[in-house]
Amino acid sequence: MGRMATAESYVLAIGTKKGLWLATSPDRTDWSLSGPHFLMSEVPSIGIDTRDGRTRILVGVRSEHWGPTVFHSDDLGESWSEPENGAITFPDGTDAALERIWQIHPDADSRPGVVWAGCEPISVWKSTDGGEHFELNRGLWDHPHRSEWGAGYGGAAAHSIVVDPTGEKVHVAMSTGGVYRSLDGGTSWEPRNKGISAYFMPDPNPEFGQCVHKIAADAAVDGRLYAQNHHGVYRSDDDAESWESIAEGLPADFGFVMLTHPRRAGTAWVIPLKADGERIPPDGKLAVHRTDDAGATWKRLDAGLPEAEYNAVLRDAASVDGAEPAGVYFGTRGGSVYASADEGEHFTEVASHLPDVLCVRAAVVSAALLPAQP
């Protein structure tokens, strides 16, 4: 155990279709829930930034009436701030308007202040001031493939951003378009989808156009990535130059979630769904599946989960924390949220009957930041 329970605590931010809830816990088992914040606005993206000596919660909020915007809180939700002119706005000349913020990704500890965002319409943004102002990545925005990228059911968005420790290698995943890679910190981009099937297209092995649902990097193996696709679970060991299936051993190869361990090589989690006709946990039995050998084998994890569950888990409605052992969290479209303090071996229910869970993010914070427990 590398962390002192007396000095640290845990925050779980839960973005739903009708607002944000925050849960805190001293032990990742007993949770205190507060909220809603931003009632009647959806919260599809959350970033918890614990760098630079503070805990900043960034949320992408979207009102059906009043549009999307980014708020941040430096006091665990006691107060929220919004840059007057908006943190993310399309510049003049693009003739585009922000529809939804799908991803807020604080960069590495070595680059404090840098925060990435992935948005709809398909776009990637970078902030160097802790998420208060973002700049559009023009290399991807002006990419010649843009007119051929499509929209999944939820919209056309860049939803995954993976940046390597050097900051030079950046992978972005978009639905639908597939995985794009930059080797120059985001200046230029090339599709990298070799080996990933797009069975729904006339050519099932196109250069781009795949419906990737989520990608994540292995924390300890340089160049290794994992992808959960619209059918298909894959691993790459060469920075996405090629992908190979690691779906064998899973009850279904469809799903939205892909999580990787914060430190350990070869460990990843998925939450399979049966598709395309059903879009439910296989046989109505919800389970997380973990690999500890980079996808060679999978272990079913369902201790503490309900016997029957017919709701899906969306791509960002799952997260890991940075503790040891790693915590695993996810929420369903039925409004249930589960937490595991032991890498998925056992789950406890954090909340139930919330609106559809769109995003969860968890972090280890100083216990001094939390309100006093009764």
Partner: protein
């Protein structure tokens, strides 16, 4: 543009146009329910929105997106008619008139 006057300023009714905000947006206008712009002649709704939201950029973003388009579920009424049934943002408004902003009954 910062020519908008706040409600309560002394201004003859026929030399100003008022914009009435729904309660949910009033915190973004310093708590005001009505914003008023001076106007000696007919102006467009677009000009009026620029005028009254010039000091309140967060309010402006709630009403229109970056392209200037009125958000889908924001309704703007001139003389009781929603501007989409008139001439949209170039709909004329004359001094003394009141413009109502009302959110659509949408959602679930």
């Amino acid at each position: 543009m910062n020519s908008a006057m706040i409600s309560g300023d002394s201004m003859p009714a026929d030399s100003a146009i008022s914009v009435v905000l729904p309660s949910v947006l009033q915190p973004l206008a310093g708590g005001q329910s009505i914003l008023t712009a001076p106007a000696e002649a007919a102006v467009t709704v677009e000009w009026l929105l620029d005028a009254v939201t010039g000091d309140y950029p967060a309010l402006s973003r709630r009403l229109r997106d970056e392209t200037g388009a009125v958000r889908r579920y924001v309704n703007i009424y001139v003389n009781g008619n929603e501007i989409r049934r008139l001439q949209g943002l170039v709909t004329a408004v004359v001094p003394g008139q009141e413009v109502l902003i009302i959110q659509s009954v949408a959602g679930g």
